[in-house]
């Protein structure tokens, strides 16, 4: 290891390409690499005996001479290593054959490769000696047949035959529900047949698997009929069907559960149909194998067949299984068949098929045990690293040794000049007496990276294949990264690692003036290369890695590098934990803080990174801004507005890139994606979870400074975000005060007092009673009612806006800044105008804040609003003048006279016993005298009526006047009524004969009669 500068890669890129591959190196030219890097597979389980097996014991079990024929199935999830194990068995078999351990045996290996039947059978053909080629003619014919364009139609026909009740009976399948007796019609009727044979349908996919035209990449895609295949038939495919097919469709539509039975029936039928289609089904495949075995028997040879993944042979897996099952036929040679199978394929095997298998080997625990062992993963990595470093001749020698069952016994590190520095820094593993350095990893690194692989991304699994693809190759393939001091590059690994705890204070102290890239690299090392949870751990465990990986020394003082101990079985160094200097954090506090750190790391890493689990983070931020933003020092923002905007909902806090997207949020206090924000959140997380809402924890002071710095830099700016942008904050206050002045004038029916103090008192006096108006039901009245009901809110708005906060704990206003009020009162008194409030105040998050002040809009045009009141005043006056029959001058006296006469009228009516029921007049009758006393109000009304400004109308008290007018109006109506009644009575009396006239006439006649004798006498 050089004394200065970073370490260089001790391998070549070509060797990386050769060694680090997930495709087994099974050809003769590369098999030594396979053996050199192969790790003994552990965790293999004999499922029948529940007995663990190692590779060698499995080999011996497979080739147990006590059995003439052996059928072994190795099953496990994709990537679990079953293929690797089968490859190893094949190589072990060849080694045994070469060294006389086994003899006269012909080994054949069918690899997965492109993953289709055509390729699988082709491999089988190619590995047999030329004289056996003739037996493959049926296979070739089958392959030609399934190339035909009509394959889909043929498969549908074959399915229809397999769905016949008698066919199912022959296959040993249970009868279908009687309602599905005609289910085969789905394959024959034009419409449903077209649906089943549609592109990318199950039949189409199966045909493409057979013909090798399946899409490239990924695992072979199995074609299975699903529930939806029979419930989602398109309308166009429901046309042109036979009655029988529609009968089945109707049954399924009526009872959708039947679709499951139909799918199961089709899946039962599919393997037989494929067999029928290819000509390989039934006994054909078996006859081929039997013929081959018969000939091998004649030539005193026997067959060892290794199929990496039998599932790729489409639905012929059962036929393949049947072809190689033990037969005890003396004409046939010995057959050892080892079949790899996915767990899905294995689960589809029927009991009778499982019963024919001699060895059922499970791989699942193998992966789990390997992944759980730091040592096993480190050794796995070491074998590959060693193979990468070794010269090819050494690899061959190593492979030869391994064929004998040994492990790695050659280390490229033997004799390396930098070994003395490399091993202490990066560690090593011992394999069969040799030490293999783990550079560029450390001992914990391979497993930590393995278990951190992000399985949410397509195709990544935490198994051997995943390790090679996603951990080892990114670490070793770019040699320049070591010289360029860019190793490890966190972006090269698809991993999700926990953020290191207490990392920020550590870097603040030890990475001063470091580049961001170096800080990222160092964090990555802290996450994956070491097992550290404290600043002390980081200092001691990372220091040895600094120089070899091109870092600057830590800046926080001399920290003695801790010597890396030889590999130990335990994960943590064998040392006593440091004595706690501060109270222990809550049990899960560090975990919670770590989770937040992890989320922040993913978020800050990329400009489009998403902040996952943002809820707790926004809770922290909300709590922080509510308690720490300097509201008290910033006059102008009411405390209640501050509380309203932030509330108790975290939706009021938004972190750029957060996962949650709350709907209909009025206000968001946005935290931009920045290192400063990340540091703040981290500090808050530690404060909350590690310090239990205090700074009394290790590194607490550091985090406290982070928060303080953030507040100094951003506090005021964040508060400003709560304020209306670009608007005069006093304008709504002035408008509101004008409305309060208006309310006081209307309430008092007087102008505001000249004294400012008294005026101040008056405008803040509650407006509790609806004002009396001359004309009710007008827009003016409605607005005044609104003013009264909103008065308190308006008052509180002004008080809140003028509040001089004395703390955040109470919304109560104890002190206000009176200057704006004292300026606004004279302004209103001079003009009697309420200013308007622009619409800008009704937008955005401040809309609710200024909503009370919007009341001013109701009273902007006072002259128009008061027009009805003025008209009513005029109308009342005209009515009074008309009633009392007088011009305006002297009206009060006329009113008094009128009312006096009304009193006389009342008395006369009473005396004359003329009763005219009139509720309205009865109500005012007792008030005639009182009304007469208020006759002077007429004078005030005349004055108000003659004015043109709003003030006389606003300050005119209409109640006594309107009451007087009402009395006079009622009197007038009563007088009219009395007049009508008197007219009517008089007319009635006159119609019967006017007594006066009659009397007059009578007297005249009498007088004439009385004069009669004189007249007679004169004659």
């Amino acid at each position: 290891m050089p004394e200065t500068g970073p370490m260089k890669a001790c391998w070549t890129p070509e060797r990386v390409a050769t060694v680090v591959t997930t495709i087994a190196k099974m050809d003769a030219s590369r098999s030594h690499y396979f053996l050199a890097s192969h790790s003994p597979i552990t965790g293999i389980l004999d499922e029948r005996l529940q007995r663990p097996l190692d590779e060698e014991s499995l080999f011996k079990a497979v080739f147990d001479r006590s059995r003439a024929e052996t059928l072994a199935v190795i099953w496990g999830e994709p990537g679990s290593g079953k293929s690797h194990l089968i490859h190893w068995l094949k190589l072990r078999t060849e080694y045994a054959l070469k060294h006389g351990e086994l003899d006269t045996m012909l080994p054949v290996l069918v690899q997965r490769r492109s993953g289709n039947l055509k390729d699988a059978l082709q491999q089988l053909v190619e590995q047999l000696p030329p004289e056996f080629q003739k037996y493959m003619d049926p296979v070739r014919k089958a392959l030609d047949r399934i190339n035909a364009d009509t394959a889909r139609e043929m498969l549908a026909n074959a399915l229809s035959i397999e769905l016949l009740p008698q066919t199912r009976q022959e296959r040993g399948l249970a009868p279908l529900d009687r309602r599905l007796g005609k289910v085969r019609e789905l394959c024959l009727s034009p419409g449903t047949r077209g649906w089943l044979c549609r592109p990318d349908g199950v039949i189409d996919r199966e045909v493409r698997r057979l013909t090798g035209t399946e899409r490239q990449g990924g695992e072979p895609r199995e074609a299975r009929f699903e529930f939806s295949e029979f419930t989602a038939i398109t309308p166009q495919h429901l046309r042109g069907n036979s009655a029988a097919a529609m009968e089945v469709v109707d049954e399924i539509e009526f009872e959708p559960e039947l679709a499951h039975q139909v799918a199961a029936a089709f899946n039962d039928a599919l393997p037989f149909a494929v067999g029928g289609l290819t000509g390989l089904g039934g006994t054909t495949l078996r006859e081929v194998f039997d013929a081959i075995r018969s000939d091998l028997k004649a030539s005193k040879r026997w067959l060892a067949l290794f199929i990496e993944d039998v599932s790729v042979m489409s639905d012929l897996d059962s036929d393949v299984l049947r072809a190689v099952e033990p037969q005890s036929n003396p004409k046939l040679c010995r057959l050892v068949a080892v079949l790899g199978m996915t767990d899905g394929g294995k689960n589809r095997l029927r009991d009778n098929e499982l019963g024919r298998i001699h060895l059922l080997v499970q791989m699942r625990r193998s992966v789990e045990e390997w992944r759980d062992s730091e040592e096993a993963v480190a050794q796995f990595a070491a074998r590959y690293l060693n193979a990468v470093r070794l010269r090819e001749d050494d690899v061959r020698k190593l492979a030869a040794h391994r064929r004998t069952g040994g492990d790695v016994n050659r280390s490229a590190c033997d004799g390396c000049q930098v070994r003395e520095g490399c091993f202490p820094a990066f560690g090593s593993v011992e394999l069969e007496g040799v030490q293999i350095g783990l550079f560029p990893f450390t001992r914990p690194a391979p497993r930590k990276l393995l278990v951190a692989l992000d399985t949410s991304k397509g195709g990544i699994r935490q198994n051997q294949r995943g390790f090679l693809d996603q951990v080892l190759r990114p670490a070793v393939q770019e040699l320049e990264q070591f010289e360029e001091r860019s190793f490890p590059d966190p972006t090269s690994f698809s991993v999700r690692l926990d953020e290191p705890l207490h990392w920020a204070p550590f870097t603040a102290r030890n990475c001063v003036n470091w580049s961001i890239e170096d800080k990222d690299r160092l964090r990555f090392l802290a996450q994956a290369w070491i097992e550290g949870r404290s600043e002390q751990d980081y200092a001691s465990l990372l220091t040895p890695l600094l120089a070899p990986l091109g870092f600057e020394p830590f800046t926080g003082g001399q920290v003695a590098p801790r010597r890396v101990q030889p590999p130990q079985p335990q994960l943590r160094p064998d040392k006593e934990p440091p004595k706690p200097e501060t109270p222990e954090p809550p049990k899960d506090g560090l975990k919670k803080a770590g989770n937040i750190q992890n989320a922040l790391a993913d978020w800050i890493a990329r400009p489009d990174g998403v902040l996952e689990h943002d809820g707790p983070i926004r809770d922290l931020l909300l709590k922080f801004v509510k308690s720490c933003l300097p509201v008290e020092n910033e006059w102008g923002l009411p405390v209640r507005e501050f509380k309203r905007l932030l509330g108790n909902k975290k939706s009021s806090v938004y972190v750029e890139g957060q996962r949650s997207q709350p709907a209909a949020v009025v206000f968001e206090l946005k935290f931009e994606r920045s290192e400063e924000t990340r540091a703040l959140i981290e500090a808050l997380a530690y404060f909350e979870h590690v310090g239990s809402a205090s700074w009394s924890f290790k590194s607490g002071e550091h985090y406290k400074r982070v928060v303080s710095r953030w507040l100094r830099r951003n506090g005021r700016a964040f508060l400003q975000r709560l304020e209306p942008a670009g608007l005069d904050r006093e304008r709504p206050v002035r408008a509101a005060i004008a409305v309060l002045c208006l309310a006081a004038a209307v309430r008092r029916r007087k102008a505001l007092p000249k004294s400012r103090t008294e005026a101040l008192d008056e405008i803040f006096t509650p407006f509790e009673v609806d004002p009396v108006l001359l004309k009710p039901g007008t827009d003016w009245e409605r607005r005044l009612k609104t003013l009264r009901t909103s008065h308190e809110e308006l008052r509180q708005f002004v008080l809140a806006e003028l509040d001089v906060p004395q703390g955040m704990t109470s919304d109560a206003t104890n002190f206000v800044d009176p200057r704006p009020v004292l300026e606004a009162i004279p302004a209103f008194a001079d003009t009697w105008q309420v200013p308007d409030l622009p619409q800008d105040y009704s937008t955005s998050h401040w809309k609710a804040r200024y909503e009370p002040a919007r009341l001013c809009e109701y009273f902007v045009d006072l002259p128009a609003l008061l027009a009805t009141e003025r008209e009513e005043l005029k109308r009342h006056l005209e009515m009074i003048r008309r009633v009392v029959d007088t011009p305006s001058s002297g009206a009060p006296q006329a009113v008094r006279k009128y009312l006096k006469e009304m009193g006389e009228l009342v008395r006369t009516l009473r005396e004359q016993k003329l009763v005219l029921p009139d509720d309205a007049f009865e109500a005012v009758k007792p008030r005639l005298a009182e009304a007469a006393e208020s006759a002077g109000e007429v004078e005030a009304a005349i004055t108000a009526d003659s004015s043109t400004g709003v003030e006389p109308i606003l300050t005119f008290a209409p109640e006594p006047f309107s009451s007087l007018a009402a009395v006079l109006g009622t009197c007038q109506q009563f007088v009219e009524r009395v007049e009508v009644e008197v007219d009517r009575t008089e007319k009635r009396l006159t119609a019967e004969g006017d007594p006066d006239a009659l009397q007059k006439s009578l007297l005249a006649r009498l007088d004439a009669l009385a004069a009669g004798p004189a007249e007679e006498g004169e004659r």
């Binding site: 009228l905 009516l909 009659l998 009397q999 006439s1001 009669l1009 009385a1010 009669g1012 004798p1013």
Partner: protein
């Protein structure tokens, strides 16, 4: 006066009007009765004039003398009634008023009967005289007086004429009748004797009149005379 004050006044007067209203019917009835009385009195006056035109002033004067008493009674009653009403308008509603009116009403038919009776008597007297003259004329051989007699019967059976035409017809008839019997030259005394004798009521002393004896002799009417003692 203001509207209310005027109304006040009207209301106040309503009660009085209502009280008077109770008397309206009586007043109306009385008025009607008095009107009828007036008409009857007027009719009587017209009848007196008719009598005067037909039978002469003496007969009329006699009739007026008979009517004067009832007229005075009417005037007295009317004057008293008027005084009572003026003193108390409500008097008309009292029973006394009704009695007074009844008294007044009762005077009109009596006056009318007086006139009618006077007319009938004057008519009868005149017709009697004419019939006697007609009879004298017939006795004197002046021709048949039957036509005249029938005319006389028709006139006598008629009531007091009410129209000028009727009055004129009666006046002309009597003129024509007088003219017709005047040719006989019989004096009034003779005519009366003849007429009385024809009714059987002539007096024996009439025979002392030379003109009567001359007439009886001239027209050899002695044998047709009968004496009767009653």
């Amino acid at each position: 006066m203001s509207r209310v004050a005027d109304l006040c006044r009207r209301v106040e007067s309503l009660e009085r009007k209502k009280v008077h209203g109770v008397l309206v019917k009586a007043l109306s009835t009385y008025d009607t009765d008095l009107e009828k009385l007036s008409r009857a009195l007027s009719s009587n006056a017209a009848g007196v004039e008719t009598v005067e035109r037909v039978f002469g002033p003496e007969t009329a004067a006699t009739l007026r003398g008979k009517l004067r008493e009832s007229s005075h009674k009417v005037a007295r009653l009317a004057s008293n009634f008027a005084k009572r009403i003026r003193a108390n308008p409500a008097f008309v509603g009292k029973n006394e008023a009704g009695d007074a009116i009844s008294d007044l009403k009762g005077l009109a038919p009596a006056a009318a009967r007086t006139v009618a009776d006077a007319w009938a008597k004057a008519m009868a007297d005149r017709c009697e005289l004419l019939r006697a003259r007609i009879a004298v004329a017939e006795l004197a051989g002046a021709g048949s007086g039957s036509e005249l007699r029938r005319e006389l019967d028709r006139v006598q059976s008629g009531r007091l004429p009410s129209s000028e035409t009727e009055v004129q017809g009666v006046v002309e008839f009597f003129a024509r009748a007088d003219s017709a019997v005047a040719k006989v030259g019989a004096s009034q005394r003779l005519s009366s004797f003849v007429e009385n004798a024809m009714r059987g009521s002539a007096s024996g002393r009439d025979l002392d009149d030379p003109e009567v004896r001359a007439f009886l002799d001239a027209h050899r009417l002695w044998q047709r005379l009968t004496v009767k003692l009653t």
